[in-house]
Symmetry: C2
Subunit: 194 residues, 2 copies
DNA sequence: AGCAGTAGTAAACGTGCATTGACTTGAACC
DNA sequence: GGTTCAAGTCAATGCACGTTTACTACTGCT
């Protein structure tokens, strides 16, 4: 049964291959970082020729920036869902990655990768700052920015411990296991009664 | 005043230049990561020829490993000073870096840098695991390993936010400013009353 | 069917890197 | 003072990478 294994609407589709490049690049950059990921790796993962990266994204750096853009919008969207009561739950979900979006924590990991471009680093700073402010505002305490940034730091650190460093038992903890500690961390830092 | 600017006991001292290489390499690796640091950079910083790196440390990877070794022993030593009551204080000090050792947080940053060598990554895991166990033990709660690892994650995340990402106000917070939030974080996660 | 334009490929180019081997300079010892 | 060995330099090698240029082949149009 070689019956048209994928509906095959088009065998040559620029938009589709562009998206494919973006996806596999996100995965590589998140896992390996910018410098150690080669454009040949990415092209091979996508099953296309290397030259297409330069064509669709101008350069390796441009592709990286495009990946970061997707991560930024995802993270901003998640931050907008936060209320004073559900911070820990939203974070636990983001850290583990839900079934419907299997690589959700890729976005967090991408925040930690840098290409050396100062412009891009500034965008990263802006996003982190915006999310911190959002968190601080959710607590009702307008002076809580520093504490909110520490909560975010913990998020990023947990991401590293789970994905890159793979320290057990944190690396394989489930969302439920993570929820209680996270709640305690957050109420300890942002809670009303200290 | 060209009077013997440095006691000049020896103009050619293998042990001394070896140590110098180690120091500047630590700094570069911590700030830039492994892949983006070149051996020429390191040699120039130390004021010696590139070939000496291969001679004294076998390879770039060997030099990186030597840097990590120094970071590991430092971190283990710091962890041994921890008691149930002083965790936040020790961590705040480690995060900011005291006057007597101006680049103390370099060690934490090095923990986050990887060369891709699986063997080295395992050493890293071992250190983090040992410190987590030490922390968990200090709380008197034998089941607190996961929570201790989350505390450590926060440490690493804060290090990233301060050094690489430079997110304000966390990036320039003083040790005193950091102490209270850290205490709350730790008592929230590891404290007896939850 | 034939044309035109775009999606995709292949190979080469130039550069920057880590590493190596032959070489030079300095210092300790007799 | 001359010899010897280690400390340090210099230049070359080879490789992997990002990018570019010239090319092929597929698709839609008339």
């Amino acid at each position: 049964m070689t019956a048209g294994q994928e509906t095959a609407p088009r065998r040559r589709d620029a938009a589709k291959t562009r998206l494919q490049l973006l996806e596999v690049a996100r995965c590589r950059f998140a896992r390996q970082g910018y410098a150690t990921t080669t454009v040949r790796d990415i092209a091979d993962d996508a099953g296309v020729n290397v030259a297409l990266i330069s064509r669709y994204f101008e350069s390796k750096e441009g592709l990286f920036k495009a990946c970061l853009d997707t991560a930024f919008t995802e993270i901003r969207k998640d931050a907008d869902q936060v209320t004073p009561g559900n911070i820990a739950a939203v974070m636990a979900r983001k850290l583990i990655g839900a079934e419907d979006s299997p690589r959700r924590q890729e976005g967090l990991l991408l925040l930690l990768r840098t290409s050396g471009d100062e412009r891009v680093d500034e965008m990263r700073r802006d996003v982190l700052r915006a999310v911190s402010e959002r968190l601080a505002r959710a607590t009702g305490d307008p002076t809580a920015l520093l504490r909110a940034e520490i909560v975010l730091s913990a998020m990023l650190g947990i991401t590293m411990m789970r994905s890159s460093l793979r320290v057990q038992p944190l690396a394989t903890a489930t969302e439920e296991e993570l929820l209680a500690p996270l709640s305690d961390l957050i109420s300890g830092l942002l809670g009303p009664a200290r």
